[in-house]
């Protein structure tokens, strides 16, 4: 009798610490912020809101969208730090069967059906010479009810999918914040190779009752017949599309070209001082 009570007490005392808050389920991405560039895709020459450096801008200006017609690029997936730009996700947890300790949190993303693992069991990151992947290597911990994730070992990716690069040396910090049936996924990219300061983005989701994500098979085909070995790009100074974004949306050039200075309130004062308040060019009706 007493042994039974002792064992029961011991079992309760040894009860594993569950996740601080439940993130599991299918989450529907709300595209209320940055709608045009997240869904349809960013326009050439739109580097607004990005603290990119000169090397990054030079590289973005060389980018040709035809690059993704190459068979080897057609099924190239969005890296994990870009994943919250669009499309729904499914989050689920993995527990050790015997201890019920949380081992990992997994995220499935609609686009290309990518899946990433956030290790929650305290394992170390791989050494510098280990391989990099599009999802990177992620470890997570709870800060109160906020899941904080650190990711490195990322393959080269992009800050924006119009050629603005993110290097393979970046370290990405993410925070998953849930309130009721809403999820905010904050991504902070630390990439001194191509950014002059950390880049932060926060995207919002709502929990999906339907809980369905469609499959996303991808197969490469020959889209453009071109000589072997040709890589589409613009030679320096030849990209004639760079100013279209500015013209179409009445954005001054300095803003369109991005840079850390354009992210802060002081830049608006500069805009006002220049008399370029926007709102003048006719805009598209939805």
């Amino acid at each position: 009798m007493y042994r039974f009570r002792f064992l029961l007490l011991a079992a309760l005392a040894a009860a594993p610490v569950p996740a601080q808050i439940e993130l599991s389920g299918v989450w529907q991405n709300k595209l209320h912020e940055d709608f045009p560039d997240r869904l349809a895709g960013p326009e050439i020459g739109d580097y607004t809101g990005i603290p990119l450096n000169a090397a990054s801008r030079f590289r973005a200006e060389a980018w040709d969208a035809s690059l993704i017609t190459l068979p080897e690029y057609q099924c190239r997936v969005h890296p994990s730090d870009y994943a919250n730009s669009f499309a729904d996700i499914r989050i689920w947890e993995e527990y050790d069967k015997d201890t019920q300790n949380l081992i990992a949190i997994h995220i499935h993303h609609f686009a290309w059906g990518t899946e990433r693992t956030i290790w929650m069991d305290g394992r170390p990151h791989p050494p510098d010479y280990a391989a990099h992947t599009s999802m990177g290597f992620s470890t997570g911990k709870w800060d109160g009810d906020i899941l904080t994730v650190t990711t490195d070992h990322l393959k080269e990716g992009w800050i924006r999918r119009n050629g603005v690069p993110r290097s393979d040396r970046a370290v990405v910090t993410e925070h998953f914040i849930r309130h009721d049936n809403g999820l905010t996924w904050v991504v902070i990219i630390h990439d001194p190779t191509y950014l002059t300061e950390d880049m932060i983005r926060s995207r919002d989701y709502v929990w999906s009752l339907a809980g369905q994500i469609a499959p996303y098979p991808c197969e490469s085909v020959e889209e453009v017949i071109r000589p072997k070995g040709v890589i589409p790009h613009h030679l320096p100074g030849t990209n004639q599309f760079l100013k279209e974004y500015q013209k179409n949306h009445g954005v001054l050039e300095e803003g369109a070209m991005g840079g850390a200075e354009t992210l802060y309130p002081e830049f608006r004062k500069k805009v006002i001082a220049a008399g370029d308040l926007g709102g003048k060019a006719p805009g598209p009706l939805q």
Binding site: G144, H175, K280
Partner: protein, 267 residues
């Protein structure tokens, strides 16, 4: 103890009560000791959001840093009535009027590229000031909207702390404001009693039936940076087909050296 409890049900009940008590204590209920009066909101704050914060405009840049052209309301879930009104925006008319602050109401002010200063007015009231547009919002802890409160641009905001549910893991390290804060949590603010205004400077409307729900979350990065993530949910049955959700990223500044109040702008 166990020898005195002859019933197995009694032992089980005792264990369950012990576990429940531990859980309740960890969430911070019960005040200074079990059965004490609740702590005032300033003292019970699970996070410290006071100080100076600057907008870092990495999202919706062409809707926030500059004014988008009339009719460009990409991303806002407007219904036909909302679209119609947005399409009728007349910047010159707004400029000529005395009211240049239509885009600086509670549903939109946090999206302005400016600085915010958050302070405690008293133990139960937080004040949020915006330098761009020279606006002040007041967050009242507890209670309800007082009867007879007139609608206004900033409406009436009721705040509540939402401590972290887990109660154990909190941010470790230096500079923690206190035991309660180490558990983490959020500030939830619900604002009603609004006069009509603009969700964006180019005349995207919201009505006086709007409710704004906000969550303020504090992030501390390993390099010392602090971010205040303000999630804003705008519900307007008159002009929106669904809640309009944005999350604004504010970075902590050391002081108010760059604080620069400027009046509202039509564009």
């Amino acid at each position: 103890m166990f020898k005195k409890i002859k019933s197995r049900w009694g032992a089980a009940a005792l264990m369950l009560l012990a576990a429940a008590g531990t859980s309740l204590y960890a969430q911070g209920f019960g005040g200074r000791g079990r059965g004490g009066p609740p702590r005032p909101p300033r003292e019970a704050a699970p996070i410290d959001i006071t100080g100076y914060w600057v907008s870092v405009v990495t999202e919706d840049w062409r809707f926030r840093m500059v004014t988008a052209p009339k009719g460009d309301f990409a991303g806002v879930p407007l219904n036909p009535a909302g679209r119609k009104l947005a399409g009728e925006w007349d910047a010159a008319k707004d400029q000529a009027s005395s009211d240049h602050c239509k885009a600086y109401g509670a549903p939109a002010i946090m999206r302005e590229p400016g600085r915010f200063h958050i302070t405690w007015v008293d133990d139960n009231t937080l004040k949020l000031e915006a330098d761009h547009g020279e606006q002040t919002r007041t967050f009242h802890f507890g209670g309800a909207v007082p009867a007879g409160t007139k609608p206004s641009m900033q409406g009436y905001s009721i705040a509540i702390w939402q401590p972290a549910s887990g109660g154990r893991a909190g941010r470790g390290g230096q500079g923690q404001p206190g035991a309660a804060a180490q558990r983490g949590g959020s500030l939830k603010v619900v604002t009603t009693n609004l006069t009509p205004g603009y969700l964006r400077r180019n005349g995207v409307p919201y009505s006086d039936r709007t409710t704004v729900t906000e969550y303020y979350d504090l992030l501390r990065e390993s390099d010392g940076a602090q971010w205040l993530i303000v999630k804003t949910i705008v519900e307007d049955p008159q002009y929106l087909t669904e809640p309009f959700i944005t999350s604004t990223n504010l970075k902590k500044e050391a002081d108010g050296a760059k604080w620069q109040p400027t009046p509202c702008e039509v564009r």
